[in-house]
């Protein structure tokens, strides 16, 4: 019997997040899996059309409800749990959206959840990082009727386009709570590439000294088309906003090029970048742990080096 996999789409109301196509890649590791994507939204049609194009998707379900305008786990989970019965595996991205939502679905189903799936060996056997990536654990779901999982974004490439899945409206009868209300979301608007999907990322640490100090990073990033990240220390110090944090408790990324500037390389930070293709470290302390993982290391004064690099590229 082929595995039936349901993927919960992440979106901002108009555009599907690339995390959905990454979940599809993860699901395609199960040979012969029948992959369904579900889109919960206030207006689902344009999002469903995007999901239908992802290669490997057999079917797209839409669940339309004005209450789905904002992604509230308490509101979405009962609708998704009501759809779960025919599926063996229910996947969502290991983003703040998916981490918040999927475990609530697992709770409603009484199902086990596998968090941060980095490899899927079968529909019931998974590999995932634990201890901030310092150990890799293989788990097997023994006899559970269904399993919930979140997919580690840095471990999968987005599935391509060109698909033409059938789109169906799903009829869901679930009582939706009103005890949780969306008030606002504040995010700095940026023209730079998205940190989670950028091919190049430049990150700064506490050595930048101030929010002003980060300007030399922004300037270089704009010149080479990179996204900008920050260490926890830099975010804690108020040099950069929280959405820029890279590491175990921030974003886990896998760019082609990662440049760590003035970042010492705490284990929690390294967890967030160990899948980067090439790592560059620039730090005045030649003993900093970041050099242990860097492909190219440069010891020196970042305030001198960064403008020099900017002139050379």
């Amino acid at each position: 019997m082929s595995a039936k996999i349901l993927i919960v789409a992440e979106h901002d109301g108009t555009r599907l997040n690339v995390s959905t196509a990454k979940c599809v890649s993860c699901a395609r590791a199960v040979a012969g899996a029948e992959i369904t994507v579900v889109v919960c939204a206030a207006a689902a049609a344009p999002l469903a059309a995007q999901a239908a194009q992802i290669a490997g998707v057999a079917r797209v379900l839409t669940v339309e409800n004005p209450a789905n305008a904002h992604a509230l786990a308490a509101v979405l989970a009962p609708q998704l749990a009501a759809l779960a019965a025919p599926f063996n595996l229910i996947l969502g991205p290991s983003t703040t959206f998916g981490k918040d939502l999927m475990a609530r679905i697992a709770g409603l189903l009484g199902a086990p959840q596998v968090s941060d799936i980095m490899a899927l060996e079968s529909a019931t056997r998974f590999r995932r990082p634990i201890y901030a990536g310092n150990a890799i654990l293989t788990v097997e779901a023994d006899g559970a009727a269904r399993v919930v999982g979140t997919v580690r974004m840095a471990s999968f490439e987005a599935a391509g386009g060109g698909g033409a899945a059938a789109i169906e409206k799903a009829a869901v009868s679930a009582e939706l709570p009103t005890h949780t209300r969306f008030i606002s979301v504040s995010a700095a608007k940026s023209d730079r590439p998205d940190l989670q999907t950028a091919a190049k990322v430049i990150s700064g640490g506490r050595a930048l000294g101030s929010a002003e100090g980060f300007r030399i990073l922004y300037s270089l990033a704009d010149k080479i088309g990179a996204a900008v990240g920050a260490s926890r220390a830099a975010v804690d110090a108020g040099f950069a906003p929280n959405e820029m944090q890279v590491g175990q408790t921030g974003k886990i990324i896998a760019p082609e090029l990662y440049v760590a500037i003035g970042i010492s390389g705490a284990i929690q930070h390294l967890t967030g970048i160990k899948d980067a293709r090439t790592i560059v470290a620039i730090n005045k302390d030649g003993e900093a742990p970041i050099f242990e993982v860097a492909d190219f290391g440069l010891v020196g004064d970042l305030f001198q080096i960064i403008p020099e690099i900017e002139k050379l590229v």
């Binding site: 901030a132 504040s186 993982v293």
Partner: protein, 250 residues
Amino acid sequence: MKRILVGIKRVVDFNVRIRVKPDGTGVVTDGVKMSVNPFDEIALEEALRIKERGGAAEVVVATVGPADCQQQLRSALAMGADRALHVQADGIIEPLVAARALLKLIEREQPFLVILGKQAIDDDNGQTGQVLAALWNRPQATYASKLELVGEGTARVTREVDAGLETLEVDLPAVITTDLRLNEPRYVKLPDIMKAKKKPLDTLTLAALGVEQRQQLKLVKFEPPLQRQKGVRVKDAAELVEQLKKKGLL
């Protein structure tokens, strides 16, 4: 009584370098320093601050795990919790089992707020708060970086999400899970450690609470991660740029 319930977990201290056992059956924990999960310390600190502002009358701390967990409960009492509940259980406690046990404690204690860490730094599951909120059929506000009680029955929570900061309003009771920037936990002073020895610590069992200790995920094997190869040092910006251009990265 206005009560806050805080869940804590005993974990390998965050400063310990983790080593996988050669036979792949787990990580080395013999003789290793154990601590309260850092996110749970933040949860307790937040509860204590609410109490100190007059927003709660009592802070109860709870854990599910083996006898050794009482050390961490004592640490929590030394930090300022009023009393502790230890649900004794050996072996693997999956998030669903922990959440079912916490729900039983909620039924007994009737807290208006439950605060947990967003994840434990050992298994990195990040599930218990959400599973508990689902079983309880109450609101959840995960990854909180700011928590304000508004009037009698609601809370406003600022959450750290991928897009930035999201604000939710939730009716109480609710489950909150903490992110790093919610607060900085206090240091424990020696007299508080002495005082904590006299605070009440009740021991219960999963069986007495009517919770079955099911394990739905078998831990097949533990492996060390692939190590990155150490790279090269370059002498200046020009050499760095040249190397990166050679690899087609610039």
